[in-house]
Amino acid sequence: MKHVCALLVLCASPLAAQGYRLRLDGRFQAVGYRGVQLDSIAVTDTVAGPSGGPTTPDGFAVRCPSGVPYCLFFRPGAVQRGAPFVTTADASLWGFGVRGLSAHVTARTALDLTGSNAWPGTDPALQLLTAYAEYSVERLTARAGRQLNSNRLGMIGFDGASITVRDGRRGLDVSLYGGWGLARGVALPVTSPALNPIADFQPGTRQLLLGAEAGWSGRLGDVRAEYLREVDPASDYFVSERVGFAGVARPAAGWSVSAGADYDLAAGWWGSAEATLGYTARAVSGAFGVRRYRPHFDLWTIWGAFSPVPYTAVQGQVSIRALPQVQLRARGERYRFSDADVSTPLVSVEQSGWRGELGMTASPAPSWTFDAGYTREFGPGAASVGTSASLSYAPAGPFAITVHGAALDRPLELRFSESVLHLYGVDTQYEVNPGFRLELGAVRYAEDRRRPDPGAIDWGQWRVSVRAVLAIGSGDDLDRLPPAVRRMPGGRAQR
C-alpha cells in the first residue's frame, strides 16, 4: 500500500492540470473459529459406543476402513484467530495533456494482524488487481497494463494490451487483447506459490493469452462472440481454448430473450449455456429459462480428463411490487446432472436437486426497510433450509443501522453433519461527509452440530468488523453521485 500511495504522489505532483479520484476502502475484522484435526487410533484401542459402533475411549465416533489396522476420526482443532485488515485502493488519474488519456490502479493489501494464516487471500500481502493506462475516444479504447476483462468466459486477467474499435452509429465493436495471463479468480500469476497451498502440480511459466471479441448492438437486440486461447510458452501446448456466444433480443417493450453458450475447443465439449425469457414492467418483473453448467478446467491440471458432467436446470423468478411499499419475490430452480456413466451398488449419490426462495421487502415508513426471506435447497452433496430477516433504519441523515438474523439447517449428504446454525448481527453506518463513511458490524454464528459424541465440534464464532471508505478527488462533483460517475475517468467536466 505504501508503494501504491508513493507512486500516486510521485506521479501527481508534477502535473499541474492533473485530476484524480481515489477511493480507499479499508476493512478490519476480528474472527475466531475452531477447525478440525484428523486423528487415528488403533482398531484394538477402540471401544463400543452407546449405539454399538466403535468409538475412542473418550467418546469420538471413529471410522475404521476395511483392511487397515487403524480407525480415523476428527478431533477439535486449535482455535484459529485472525485479524485481517484488507484495504482496496481504487485510483484514476487524468489530465496528462491528451484528452481521453487516463491511468487506473486498483490494488489491495491484505494483512492478518495476528500473523496467522486464518484468513484467505492474505498472501501475498499486496496484490495489484488492475493497473493500466487508457486512451479512450468515441471510436477507440486502448489499454496497456494489468487488466481484467469480464465476459461470458469468465473474468480474464492479464498483463498486456487491449484495443477496442467501435462504430457507435452502427452498434458494432471489435476488441483484441493479449498478454501474459493471470490465474482464474485471482490477481496472481499461475506460478505464484500462494495458489498451491497443498503443493501439487503447478505450471512453471505463465500462460500467454490472446482473446478477441466482436459485438453488434441494435434496437431490437445485441449479439456478441468471444474467443480466448491460452498457451503455455514453455511447451507451446494449450492451457485452454474457448469460444463464447451471447445474444439478446428485445421483441417488444419490456420483453427480452437472452441466450448464450460457450464451447471448449480444447476439450471438445459444450460448457455452460443458458436461455432466458425476461419481462420487466413497473410493478412486475420476472424471468424464466433453462441453463446448463459445466465447470471449466485449464489443461495444466488433469481435472478435465476426469470428465466433469454438466447439469441442466429449469429456473424462474418473479418480483412483484404488490404495493408501492412492498415488493414480493420468488425464485426456483430444478436441475439434474447428466449421466456420469459410472455407478456402484455400494454408493448412491443424488443426481438432481432443486432450490427455491421466497422473500419480501417492505418500507412501511420513510427510512424503514424490512426484508425477510425463506430459502430451501436440496441437491447432491448438501442441502439447506433457512430463514432470514433484517430491519434497517436509514434516515436522511448520515446514520443508518441494520439488525439481521437468520436460521439455517444444513445437512450434508456425504458426511454426518446435521447442524443447525443461528446467526445474529448488526451493521451500522455513519457518513461523516459525502466522501468519508464509517461502518461497524458484528455478527454471531451459533451452531449446534447435533452429534451425540464429542465430534460435535462447535463452529460458533463472533465476527466483528470495522470499515472505512474514503473517496477524494479533484473537482467538486463527488457529492452523492452514483459510483459510476464518481469513478468516471477524466471527470465529468473534463471530457
Binding site: L38, W119, L129, D222, G379, A383, A484
Partner: protein
C-alpha cells in the same frame, strides 16, 4: 423531441400578475409606456420610478406604499428583448396586450406573458412542451447561457411528454433523437454534465461534447435505471451483460463490476447474502454459480479448508466422507458431478493413487464426452502425467 423552456416563468405565466393591480389603475394610465418606458426605449427602465407612485400614495390622498423596483434581472431563460421584439413584430400587432392579456380581456387585465400567444404568433400549433425540436430556440436560450437561473430553477424544469416514452432512455430513444437536436432542443434544459450522470462509461457519445458545460444541469435527476433493469436485475443480469457489453459500458465503469465481481474477495460487497459463509456448502456442491470465476480454488477454497483441517493432505482414506461407508469405491458419480468441490480439498496426487496408467490401480477416469485425441493434440503434457510417454 422538444425541450421545455421558461420553466420558472411558466408557472407564473398563466396567472394574473401579482403585486400591482393594473385593473384598479386603468383610468390613470392610458399608456403602458408611461410606467414601463423600457419596453419602448432602449436604455430606459422597465419599471416605473417609485417616486411617481407617491404622487397619489402620499399618506393623504392614498395610503403610502413601499415598493422598490427589482435590482437584479428576472430569472429567465427567455430569448426576449421588448424593444427588439417590438421592432421585429412591427408587421403584426405589437401592443402590450397581445402578449400580456388573454383574448377578449381588457387592456389592463395584465398578466405575465401568455405562452399560447407566443406559440400562436410564431406559428407553433402544439402545446408548449410538445412543440417541435426546432422551436425551442425561438424563445429560449441554452441553459448554459441562462445565467440568472439557479439550481433550484433548473430542478423545476418540466419534462416534455416525449421523455415519458417507454424506450426514451434507450439508444433508439433519446440517443437517436439527440443526435439531431442536442444543440437546439436538448441544450435548452441540459448541459454536458447532465448527460455524464449516466454516460459514465469509457466511451461516451461524442455528440455530448456539443453541449455546453454547466454544473447546474445536474440539478435534474436523471439517474433512474433503465426500464429493462427492473427490481431483480442483479439476479439475472449475467447473460444480458455478456451479450450487451457495449450497452452496459455506456453507463458503467469497470469498478462498478469489481464491487461484487472482485477476484478472491473474501466478502464481495453484496454479491453473496449475509451469512452465505454458513450455507455455502450446498451452493458450492451443486455449483449454483461459477465460484471459480471470482475465487481461485487454491488461493481461496483450499487455503481456507486447509486451515480448518478439511484437506485430504495426501491421506486418501481420511474418513471425512463418513456418511457413505464405501465412499472411496463409489465416489465416481459424486466426483464427476462436483469435481470443483473435490479439488477444493483434494490434490491431483490423491486421485492419481488409483487413477493412473503409470501405477496404482489403473482405474480409467475418462468418462462421457472425453475426446482423448483432441486433448492429446491440445496438451500432450497433461496426458503424460498418467500415461508417461506411452500415451495411447
Amino acid at each position: 423531441m422538444i425541450l421545455p423552456a421558461g420553466f420558472v416563468l411558466l408557472a407564473l405565466l398563466q396567472q394574473p400578475a401579482q403585486g400591482f393591480d393594473h385593473m384598479k389603475h386603468k383610468a390613470l394610465f392610458p399608456s403602458c409606456t408611461t410606467c414601463h418606458a423600457g419596453v419602448a426605449t432602449k436604455g430606459e427602465s422597465l419599471w416605473p420610478d417609485p417616486v411617481s407612485c407617491t404622487t397619489c400614495h402620499d399618506g393623504t390622498i392614498e395610503k403610502t406604499v413601499v415598493w422598490r423596483p427589482p435590482t437584479s434581472p428576472r430569472r429567465s431563460n427567455l430569448r426576449f428583448d421588448h424593444v427588439g421584439h417590438a421592432a421585429k413584430a412591427k408587421d403584426k400587432s405589437s401592443s402590450c396586450s397581445v402578449c400580456h392579456t388573454l383574448a377578449g380581456e381588457p387592456r389592463m387585465a395584465v398578466r405575465d406573458p401568455v405562452v399560447q400567444r407566443c406559440l400562436d404568433c410564431h406559428g407553433i400549433r402544439t402545446a408548449h412542451l410538445a412543440a417541435p425540436d426546432t422551436a425551442c430556440a425561438t424563445c429560449h436560450v441554452p441553459l448554459a447561457r441562462a445565467a440568472s437561473f439557479t439550481r433550484q430553477d433548473v430542478a423545476k424544469l418540466p419534462a416534455p411528454p416525449s421523455h415519458a416514452a417507454p424506450d426514451f432512455l434507450s439508444r433508439g430513444g433519446h440517443g437517436a433523437v439527440s443526435r439531431q437536436t442536442l444543440g437546439t432542443a436538448c441544450a435548452t434544459c441540459h448541459a454536458r454534465e447532465f448527460c455524464y450522470e449516466c454516460h459514465a462509461g469509457s466511451a461516451p457519445p461524442r455528440a455530448i461534447a456539443w453541449l455546453g458545460s454547466d454544473p447546474r444541469s445536474t440539478a435534474i435527476v436523471a439517474r433512474a435505471a433503465p426500464a429493462t433493469h427492473g427490481d431483480n436485475f442483479a439476479d439475472r443480469h449475467a447473460t444480458l451483460a455478456a451479450a450487451s457489453t457495449t450497452s452496459c459500458t455506456s453507463c458503467h465503469v469497470r469498478a462498478d463490476c469489481l464491487e461484487c465481481h472482485r477476484p478472491s474477495a473474501a466478502r464481495g460487497a453484496g454479491y453473496h447474502p449475509d451469512g452465505f459463509l454458513a450455507r455455502h456448502p450446498a451452493s458450492a456442491y451443486a455449483r449454483e454459480a461459477s465460484c471459480s470465476d471470482c475465487h481461485n480454488v487454491g488461493a481461496f477454497c483450499t487455503s481456507c479448508h486447509a486451515q480448518t483441517g478439511l484437506t485430504a493432505a495426501g491421506v486418501l482414506r481420511s474418513g471425512y466422507h463418513d456418511a457413505r461407508p464405501f465412499f472411496v469405491v463409489g465416489h465416481g458419480q459424486a466426483a464427476r458431478q462436483g469435481l470443483e468441490s473435490c479439488v477444493s480439498c483434494h490434490a491431483e496426487r490423491d486421485c492419481l493413487t488409483c487413477h493412473s496408467a503409470a501405477g496404482g490401480r489403473r482405474f480409467n477416469p475418462h468418462g462421457p464426452g472425453f475426446d482423448g485425441a483432441r486433448m492429446r493434440r491440445k496438451n500432450f503434457a497433461m496426458c503424460t502425467v498418467c500415461h508417461g510417454a506411452a500415451v495411447p
